[in-house]
Amino acid sequence: MELTFTAADELFRQEIAQWLNENLRDEFAEVRHRGGPGDEHRFVDERKAWERRLAEGRWTCIGWPEAWGGRGASIEQQVIYHEEYARAGGPGRMGHIGDTLTGPTLLAFGSEDQKARYLPDIRSGQAFWSQGYSEPGAGSDLAAIRTRADFDDGSRQWKITGQKVWTSLAHESDFVFVLARVDRDSVGHRGLGFFLVALDQPGVTIRPINQLTGTAEFNEVYFDEAVCAADDIVGAPGDGWKVAMGLLGFERGVSTLGQQMLFQTELDEIIRLAKLNGASRDPEIRQRIAEAHIGLRTMRYNSMRTLSGGEDGSLSREAMIYKLYWSSWHRNLGKLAMDVLGPDAELLEEGPYELTKLQSLFLFTRADTIYGGTNQIQRNLIAERALGMPKEPRGQAK
């Protein structure tokens, strides 16, 4: 079950580790371990600069084919990359969405022209992307989106009107991909288009969403006849759902091992504090720390089963449980951190409302079980797709 790494893989590991060691220092020392979940709005310029440094080393978009500047890295190499990146304390990547979502989508569904126009700037760390799926009325029920795109025969442009929400870092990005309705009379999955839209234009207004932490990583993006070119639609009009859902298959869990290394850092810190303040002698805390440790190891072996598993790209049973598992685990970890700290968990880093790292963890992990498919939606998916249980009868509006 252990992933087996070839000698070439180990060389690759040495190479990325050494490169990170040599580059994630000096002017980039301050971004180490920054920009993760709950910290995404910090050091934005520095992290953009870091993205360009990565690109110089050819350490962006390593999964892309070499023809587009990638390394055509194998699953094993991508795992190694994420592990070493996390181990080195590499900052949350500003180029994440371009690298892992826009790029693969264009490579799979885009025209040659679209690839040529967009991929190079993603790879070189010049262009940053955000995603426009959810809407106020389309969260769990994503197919209920109402943003529409009308083709204007005069200007030969698409005009997009509507509202997207939970668009992370839109105000720091250059582009957004937008799922919008091309057929006004359509409902559900049909009649959608997938659009590539520049954010810096008059028809786009971006408003930050303040969160329970007092910070604002997410945005609402309002489109009021925002435009994109006739050939900025990926796939045909009406194919939007297929293109958007295609994205979901791309991440075969290669980044999960890196994510787990961040989790390990958090757990290690909690263990350190428990030893320090004596919470480590509390039998109930001991049980929960052990459980957290077991859960993290479970995720690791689970990911290994997934990565060493079938080749057909379909999600295996163990992959289907992953989101529900890690989000619940992480949320429990946030609570564990507070309980280890006890009363001191209340004390802020400083006034008026500057949170400590563990307080941020505690609050942000409440979002983990919501975004990217709530735990409830995940359970529906597991029951229907993995266990073949019937969908609920489609309801009437109430």
């Binding site: 329970l212 007092g214 309980d339 009363p343 968990a345 006034g351 609050l363 409440r366 309801g395 009437q396």
Partner: protein
């Protein structure tokens, strides 16, 4: 009746905007609202004896008010002065005690400086020493509720022989510094109190061997916190059910999905269970003051209610965020404020496993509980 009037008063005066404004204000609370609580509702006087201009009502009444306060996230020194009143009510009659009770009845904030919060909520970080020129108090107390707004502090201190005494100290006395402590939950602001060789006289001493008394006061304080938690748990349920009825996905109100309904049902089970234990504990407190219930009975009632209500408040507020979905983690919606209050009250005066361990001691070891 009391429930209705409490709820309507707070619905008008402590709505979401008022709470947020209080948290943001440099004073960390709304002094005008507190004056209105004192003048219009007279809640600060509920437990104060009649002779000191109080209402001399009971703990059931106080629990009803505290529950309403939790339901509306009331950001006021009500807990602080009620805790102090509980302490003063169990101290022997003295001039200084009477003055404190009269101060409370007239709307002054009197806070209890009890804990150093290292290992125990009963251990003082302040000590008394006799320098020859007279007695002085030195040390610090943390998590003092509304200490920054208090005119008077009731300071628990360790005597040189390790027994415990309690002293009445004016917060503007020489050597006293009180600092607001920024906390995750802004609706229950805390302070740190530092005493540097603060001179005190015998006349300021409320009690000279206060160890056993403190233990009962902590139990009484737990009951007040439990009431707050029941309010938080109830409001979290109500807000969330309301939201899910309005929110539509898949052409249905999401309140019609079993995943949501069953979660709400579990939340209701939790809050009703906690409420049953709360009012039992409040009755027990009344009985204890009437010397019809033992110390152990009071302790047990408080432990049980606290274990249950801490869990209910946290579960309901946390589940409430989940039921709200994405908007649950925004600053705009109130559920996150309840979530933070649930967390702060959960760790205040001890977490549920500690309460259960205390019960286990009574059941299994035949001995006294650990705290």
């Amino acid at each position: 009746m009391l429930k209705d009037t409490s709820q309507s008063f707070l619905a008008a005066k402590s709505d979401s905007m008022a709470v947020r404004a209080a948290c943001r204000s440099p004073q960390h609370f709304d002094a005008a609202l507190w004056r209105s609580v004192c003048n219009d509702m007279y809640w600060q006087g509920v437990l104060v004896p009649e002779v000191h201009e109080g209402l001399a009502l009971g703990w059931v009444e106080m629990a009803i008010i505290m529950e309403a306060a939790g339901e509306r996230l009331l950001t006021s020194p009500l807990f602080a002065v009620t805790q102090s009143t509980a302490l003063l009510n169990v101290c022997l009659q003295s001039a200084v005690r009477d003055r404190c009770l009269a101060d409370i009845a007239s709307g002054h904030v009197v806070s209890l400086a009890l804990t150093n919060a290292v290992g125990s909520w009963h251990t003082s970080g302040v000590s008394v020493s006799d320098s020859g020129d007279g007695l002085t108090l030195s040390g610090e107390a943390r998590f003092v509720p509304f200490g920054f707004a208090a005119s008077t502090l009731l300071v628990v201190a360790a005597n040189e022989d390790q027994s415990t005494s309690i002293w009445v100290v004016q917060s503007d006395a020489v050597g006293v510094s009180v600092q607001h402590t920024p906390t995750l939950d802004q609706t229950r602001p805390m302070s740190e109190v530092r005493l540097e060789a603060v001179a005190v006289s015998e006349a300021q001493r409320l009690s000279s061997d206060a160890g056993p008394l403190i233990k009962q006061v902590v139990a009484l304080s737990r009951i007040l916190i439990v009431a707050d938690q029941v309010g938080v748990a109830q409001a979290s349920l109500d807000l969330s059910v309301e939201y899910t009825k309005e929110r539509s996905q898949f052409n249905r109100s999401i309140a019609s999905f079993q995943a949501i309904k069953h979660k709400a049902a579990d939340m209701m089970v939790k809050v009703e269970a906690a409420r049953s234990l709360l009012y039992f504990a409040a009755c027990t407190a009344d009985a204890w003051f009437a010397q019809e219930a033992t110390d152990a009975a009071l302790q047990e009632a408080a432990y049980m209610a606290s274990a249950c209500a801490s869990d209910a408040a946290f579960f309901n507020a946390g589940s409430g965020i989940q039921m709200h979905g994405g908007v649950g983690i925004t600053e705009e919606y109130d559920i996150q404020l309840y979530f933070k209050r649930a967390r702060s009250t959960e760790s205040y005066l001890g977490r549920p496993p500690e309460m259960r361990e205390a019960i286990a001691c009574q059941l299994l070891d035949g001995g006294e509980a650990w705290s």
